[in-house]
Symmetry: D2
Subunit: 283 residues, 4 copies
């Protein structure tokens, strides 16, 4: 089994040596180490993964030791994960299926180490997909009137299903601030434009109007500012004057699903650190 | 020698057959034909290039015949070019050399069929480059006070040098509306962002602040709305959290020069048709 | 309803005018016209799509008229399609699911106009996917001894299911020449390398050994020369020294499925013309 | 001033901690650390850059201390560089100018920290470029008969000009094994294909014949096996059936120059480690 430590703290000399020493001295074999210094913000980021087979500190005491010896001293914000914890993901959808199919295909073929026990939708259209893959489907229509109530129902469900993080797979609803507070940097959205261009509704229409030569897709953590959360992944595809809104939508769908799946995969691998409104994504 | 006809008109049945017939019947051999129908605007676009060696209409009468027989009938906007006309290009620069070097290297090696008789700059820094390539260099500093006067001086120079079109190769000045009127869709600019994201000054700083995962460059015709003219070419390059503003500027420069040169090349080949705020770019 | 004509013939003056005239004069409205002249082979290629609503020649006589009036005269090889004919596709698989999932997701969501009545596999592993999507699944294991017999069984099945074309979605068997003869340029394969680099088995291992910085995938029509048929689509993804064979396989899978689906889509849209060992792919 | 240490050695526990400790304990501030473990070859690679301002070991003794304390113990192969050493580069050319112009533009604008005191060519065509940039130009024609002698003359020149590494900027000559021995992993070539596809002469012709949908360029260190040395950088550009050999050459030139310049830049930044027939390229 491996331990994975994600951390950031004010940049100071000696952090890297201290942490690697801690692992080495106690018999851990470092498998991956990625570090990054943000010289504008003066913040040090690190992801370190090590094998626990000969590690002298018991698994359930590592956090305590690390906290006492290093985290407090260096003012670290950190999270500790273990390779035997399988993240539990809920998918929120509306009517479009390309993103959810792409993720479920990876899930069903064990390409991803993840559990997907729950799909939530505000429309019944994609129930058939949940059925095909044997996943619980909850139809939760949202109106202006029932939004608060329905979101509370969703939160209860997510708790019941022990959901670690949520993927909005072209879920066409704005999530309330209260809801977001329960899953900080744990709700991943796909926006169908190259943000910050074409924020908001109908980005393909806007791209067509502007006459751009590339269209994009952006996957980001959801924050209280619409389409403005920390970006995890983006990509683009070339278009031309021959394209119309219909073909943009079509070309964009391939982009959306791949960009979203790449972002989810990085999150699953605990390789994304969000800091203020940006991300560090290790590879 | 070849003739090149660029045209657009309201979409109607029979245009393509009429024009191809006109060329065939009169002994022209069609080398390239590209057409596009914009089904939103109901506009038909065409570029047709044919060999004149056996063409029965004299070169200097083609425009008249075409005007009389077809252009009036189909309400065409068209331009007629001949392969022995070498376009004359002026380059406007400030202090950065990457774009102008890229273009002059193509010019000097005959990669492009173009004449570059004149470089204009508001700073003296790049005089040495003009000297290296044996091109006239005019230092024309612009201040708020002298702008109208200096632009008039520039227009006189451009006329004297018989300039067909202008390339702003990171020229850090806004061109006045009056000036633009003299070169409609004949001033090509490079903007160092993926428009419409990061309009205006310091786009790399803005991209860094936003935490995007790709940066872009956009080449467009200059219109009276800043950074909003018809886009000719765009491209992007991947960046990461490791980049800072300095490395974004560095990576962006390679993108800027290639995107600008691609746009200029398409313009030189008479493959760009601007219509309203968009372009049709044939390949 | 629309008609789609795909054709190629020795390049001669007047073909384009003749065909467009034929359609216009008889009341057809040309929707799309793409043509290409291969100046090395002196071959003219064209795809023309027109609306039949006011076309004066009955749908079932168009081929005859076209043959008599033009095809014979210009020595054309052509095929005529109608937009109400829905192509029928069989998918051949082995054990890997990423490509078939990607195609079935498009099929199930009506992204593609296609029927998929039959999946054939030499292994039972993916029966569950066929079941999920309600498609007939035939397990046809192939050994050296039974190959001729089993291929005959497959051919009978394909005939029974009225299959128009076959997609090899990581089907790990070589198809015999006899089999290929029944579906010339109608069997689409995905090879997991940037052909012609890394022909044959284990291309990701070979790419790793060579230390390339990009890996690719290639979709092509199957011909009697292994991995040497006309290429329809290729793409690449960036890798680095950090990748090992396992991560190459993983990154390559996203590429394979998208490249294969793009090729199948072009084929479905009747936009691919194969000539000798190359393709013309219109967009 | 900064020190840069590049190293590789058999992978063992404790190397990273030992080296970072060495720097920290002696007052060095680590600016960048990149490490990589090749789990197939069991080799550990590292690049570490630190500021020397408060480093207690004198600059000219660092190598000795490092050798004694760590390099011997861990069986390291390493090189030590200092940021005040400006690498000296010679460019070898034949007749094509796109690559050399791209590099000289970077050199002249101080985009690169490099000295370019010498250009060698087997043809006189590009003397004018050397003159424009004020660089010594040596015309050294190579024939089968005079090759050994002329290469010796080149080696003498390179020694006289204190050249650190050589860039073959479309230099159309094969370098002898004897010559290569003098500059192991210090001769950078650009090959105009996506290696290992289309090794040898006329790769654009071969790509055209094969009907590929992307063409590539590859920059690599020159070794005794032709076009088979460790790859530093590769990239591709999309082409189509519309391209002929002439347009492939044209599109390829933009690719070649950018790919070569990226490779040279990585080499200048001491971010490339070659091991056997591959490279580790840090970013």
């Amino acid at each position: 089994m491996n331990a994975i430590l994600l951390m950031h703290c004010p940049d100071q000399q000696g952090i890297l040596a201290a942490v690697t020493n801690f692992i080495n001295v106690n018999g851990g074999n470092i498998l991956y180490l990625n570090q990054h210094v943000d010289n504008e913000e003066h913040v040090f980021f690190m992801r370190i993964e090590w094998n626990l087979d000969s590690f002298s500190i018991p698994k359930d005491r590592i956090a305590e030791y690390f906290e006492t010896l290093y985290a407090a001293r260096f003012s670290m914000v950190y999270s500790l994960h273990f390779s035997d914890q399988i993240p539990r993901m809920a998918i929120f959808v509306s009517k479009m299926s390309h993103c959810i199919y792409d993720m479920l295909a990876r899930y069903a073929s064990n390409e991803w180490v993840v559990e997907v026990p729950l799909i939530i939708s505000n429309h019944p259209d994609l129930q058939i997909i949940a059925d095909r893959f044997g996943i619980d489907f909850q139809l939760i229509p949202i109106t202006k009137e029932n939004k608060a109530e329905q979101e509370q129902f969703e939160l209860d469900l997510l708790k019941k299903y022990k959901i670690d993080f949520i993927v909005l797979a072209r879920y066409m609803q704005v999530i309330s601030d209260q809801f977001i507070d329960h899953y900080p940097n744990r709700i991943i959205n796909i926006h169908h434009s190259f943000l910050p261009a074409f924020v908001g509704a109908k980005p393909y229409h806007a791209a067509f109007e502007r006459g751009v030569k590339l269209i994009g897709a952006t996957s980001h953590y959801v924050t209280k500012d619409l389409d403005a959360g920390p970006i995890i992944e983006q990509d683009v595809v070339r278009i031309s004057h021959k394209d119309n809104v219909r073909t943009l939508v079509h070309k964009g769908q391939d982009l959306e699903k791949i960009v979203l799946s790449r972002a989810v995969e990085k999150h699953l691998q605990r390789k994304v650190l969000a800091y203020k409104n940006k991300t560090v994504v290790f590879n």
